[in-house]
């Protein structure tokens, strides 16, 4: 994947007009974002500060994934990443899929041995994590034998296991019921001071996030605190052209 201008156009931190509390983490200034010769955002300006809880809304294909990808490149090691459609390895166990969150952290030999025989310390840590996500007893199970909702929770567990300050999620709660979705979002928020999450449930977005960013037609059409918005304000994002 190729990104243009997502890093070089960054404004120096001090000159950013700061409407929010924390220091700035990432941002774009009149940046052109896209992938594979295809420009999605011709001129994007957006700043994200520490401690913000941001929901990305918009129709599918509007560029939420592109924006998250660009943020992921900028944030590098600071971000935990929960990709769309889970991107799990179906033939490995749930444990190994979660372990993959920290693959770069361990030595290659430990990774190799862990594949044959789970590392005791990692197993304990991952079982504790799995328990909070309601995955207890499923760690040995091969991922393709889990239900869609369970797979999604494995993907979230893998992101949580990365243990990073910023959570970037591309529809991480799309295939669980609303009640469970709320619980999972609470868990994500409790473990990450900052998060940027693409969603399609408007109510969840308004209830759980401080700031809503609405994308439409290659630009940001809504960027406001969630307390100033109602679901009707968000409807405009989903009106077919």
């Amino acid at each position: 994947m190729k990104h243009w201008g997502c890093c070089d156009n960054l404004m120096p931190y001090a000159t950013v007009a700061e409407p929010y509390a924390g220091p700035m983490l990432a941002g774009f200034d009149h940046a052109r974002l896209g992938h594979d010769q295809h420009v999605v955002f011709p001129e994007l300006t957006l700043h994200i500060s520490q401690g913000e809880r941001i929901a990305l809304l918009g129709r599918s294909g509007v560029g939420k994934s592109t924006l998250l990808d660009a943020l992921r490149v900028q944030l590098g090691d600071q971000s935990a990443w929960c990709p769309q459609a889970n991107a799990l390895v179906p033939t490995l166990s749930a444990y190994h899929n979660i372990y993959m969150g920290r693959l770069a952290h361990f030595s290659r030999w430990q990774n190799l041995i862990n594949l044959l025989r789970p590392n005791r310390a990692c197993w304990q840590e991952i079982s504790a994590l799995a328990e909070t996500l309601g995955l207890d007893g499923l760690l040995h199970r091969q991922v393709d034998q889990l239900s869609g909702g369970q797979q999604q929770r494995v993907a979230i567990a893998r992101a949580l296991y990365q243990n990073r300050p910023v959570f970037l999620g591309d529809e991480p709660v799309s295939s669980v019921d609303p009640r469970q979705g709320m619980r999972l979002l609470d868990l994500i928020k409790a473990r990450h001071p900052t998060c940027v999450v693409a969603l399609h449930q408007r109510e969840l977005a308004l209830e759980h996030f401080d700031r809503i960013i609405g994308l439409n037609d290659g630009r940001i059409t809504i960027d406001a605190p969630s307390r100033d918005l109602t679901t009707d304000d968000l409807d405009v994002l989903y009106v077919p052209e």
Partner: protein
């Protein structure tokens, strides 16, 4: 298929540019070229009474004599041993090559060259150095299989889902990335393909008997050649049982016990004389003028070669005839094993027939037919068409079984010609062109039975210890096979532009 009785307006349709018309044109062109060239082929029957002989063979098959062969169990186990260790070595060699296959043109060309020469020719070559030994048998299987594994493993690894790997942090080391996100995703197809190749290796191992290694083929050949059909029948049944029960005795859990257990059967180990080996590599296999640096004498050396044109002509002709023959056999045979046609009894019988046709090594089938007809292209043509046609028919039937006809209640010829054939024909042709490369390799091989193809001259060159000539002929064979491979890849329906929303079968698993 209504291709032969196209109405007047059908010629317009044939001229049109859609994918069906293109495939039809391709098929018709192939059939037409074959029909035109057919008079050039020697299809004579030279034996006096083929029918009596056939009857005696059938009697031998029906009344097999299991006690006739001295140590059938040893021959059977040795067949398994060579196949198992040959494939294991091939994997060990081929897997690392697969990892650099897509990046290195050198590796790709080398593999294409090694693959282009049939296992049995490799065996003939190694035989000169290592004699009738385990090294000859293992190298003959492992070398071409390593080249095939390198190519197919690389193709499988290139097709896996990349999204789990993209999720990893960019700092992840290559090994961890590979064992966590690439190998598990490819594992099933890798092991499935290796399994299929093991079945092929069993056939190759049987064939090694034709050059004198004491596998099943050795006893099969002598039994059939000397007319001891009851013994030959028993050995043939033993081989069919071996293939039919493959999934039972070659279970994954039994793999290690088999490897360890058969290790003791490997042998005999030759005492290699390094001087002779070096003499062979550095001197014997090169043309004398080239060694002397006397390039003026090279043309004279070339005129010393046997007249290759008839042999090359026969090889290519047999290749084309067998490709078309396989297509016809497949078109006739696939409904026998498809759920859309017949009942349980006919399907079981059809499956039995096709399994026998598919499992019999082509060379053995040709050899048996040759005893009936005498040496001509006819037995080779029938054998290659039956074997490859049956193989493609199975895959075609499986493809057809996945299709639900759009019209309810459509049956018989209508179902075949209007619902199923249009859908599976591109797949059949794709498989056929994949198979053309294998067919070409095997045509050359049939020369060992006395059919005047390139293999005939290779075999006799080795026999007269003219190694320089044998190696030169092997090179010619390899070049022809590689050319046909490139050609068939160009013609394969996958290479034709088509609508991308139609999923086509990916035949890589079963074909090479």
């Amino acid at each position: 298929m209504s291709r032969n009785e196209a109405p007047a307006s059908g010629f317009n349709w044939l001229r049109s540019d859609n994918i069906g018309a293109r495939l039809l044109r391709l098929t018709l062109a192939m059939v037409a070229i074959m029909v035109v060239l057919l008079p050039l082929a020697d299809l004579s029957i030279t034996t006096r009474d083929p029918w009596t002989e056939l009857w005696r063979m059938l009697k031998g098959m029906m009344l097999p004599d299991v006690t006739a062969t001295e140590s059938p169990l040893h021959a059977l186990l040795l067949t398994i041993t060579f196949a198992l260790w040959g494939v294991a070595l091939g994997m060990v060699l081929g897997f690392p090559l697969a990892l650099i296959f897509m990046r290195s043109r050198l590796v790709r060309s080398l593999c294409a060259f090694v693959r282009a020469i049939h296992e049995l020719f490799w065996a003939l070559l190694f035989l000169q150095v290592f004699g009738l030994s385990a090294i000859t048998a293992l190298a003959a299987i492992a070398l071409p299989y390593a080249a095939t594994f390198a190519k197919v493993y690389a193709e499988i690894l290139a097709q896996i889902d990349r999204s789990p790997a993209r999720m990893l942090s960019p700092d992840t080391d290559r090994l961890s990335r590979f064992v966590y996100t690439e190998l598990p995703l490819a594992w099933q197809r890798l092991s499935g393909y290796t399994r299929y190749r093991f079945e092929c290796a069993l056939r190759a191992s049987v064939l090694l008997g034709f050059v004198g290694l004491p596998t099943l083929g050795y006893y099969l050949e002598s039994a059939f050649r000397q007319g001891r059909y009851h013994e030959g029948g028993a050995l043939l049944w033993a081989f069919y049982l071996l293939i039919a029960l493959l999934h039972w005795w070659a279970h994954r859990r039994l793999l290690l016990p088999w490897l360890v257990g058969t290790a003791f059967l490997l042998g005999p180990w030759p005492s290699v004389n390094p001087t002779l080996l070096w003499q062979f590599i550095s001197h014997d296999i090169w043309p004398q003028p080239l060694l002397d640096g006397d390039f003026g004498a090279l043309p004279a050396w070339f005129t010393g070669l046997p007249n290759l044109l008839p042999a090359i002509g026969n090889t290519l002709l047999l290749g084309l005839m067998s490709t078309v023959g396989s297509l016809l056999v497949c078109l006739l045979a696939w409904p026998l094993v498809s759920r859309h046609f017949g009942n349980r009894a006919t399907r079981t019988m059809g499956r039995g027939t096709l399994i026998v046709m598919r499992s019999t090594p082509e060379l053995l089938l040709a050899f048996i037919l040759l005893l009936l007809t005498g040496p001509s292209l006819l037995p080779a043509w029938i054998a290659l068409s039956l074997h490859n046609g049956a193989l493609i028919a199975f895959l075609a039937a499986r493809h057809a079984d996945g299709i639900t006809p759009g019209l309810p209640g459509i049956k018989g010829v209508d179902l075949y010609s209007h619902e199923l054939m249009p859908r599976i024909y591109p797949g059949i042709l794709a498989l056929l062109f994949y198979r053309a490369e294998v067919i070409m390799r095997e045509t050359a091989l049939l020369g060992m039975l006395g059919v005047v193809t390139l293999g005939f001259h290779i075999d006799s060159s080795f026999e007269y210890l003219m190694f320089d000539q044998a190696v030169a002929l092997l090179m010619v064979t390899a070049v022809i096979n590689m050319t046909v491979d490139v050609l068939s890849r160009r013609l394969r329906p996958g290479a034709l532009p088509e609508r991308c929303d139609q999923p086509r079968p990916a035949p890589v698993n079963e074909s090479v």
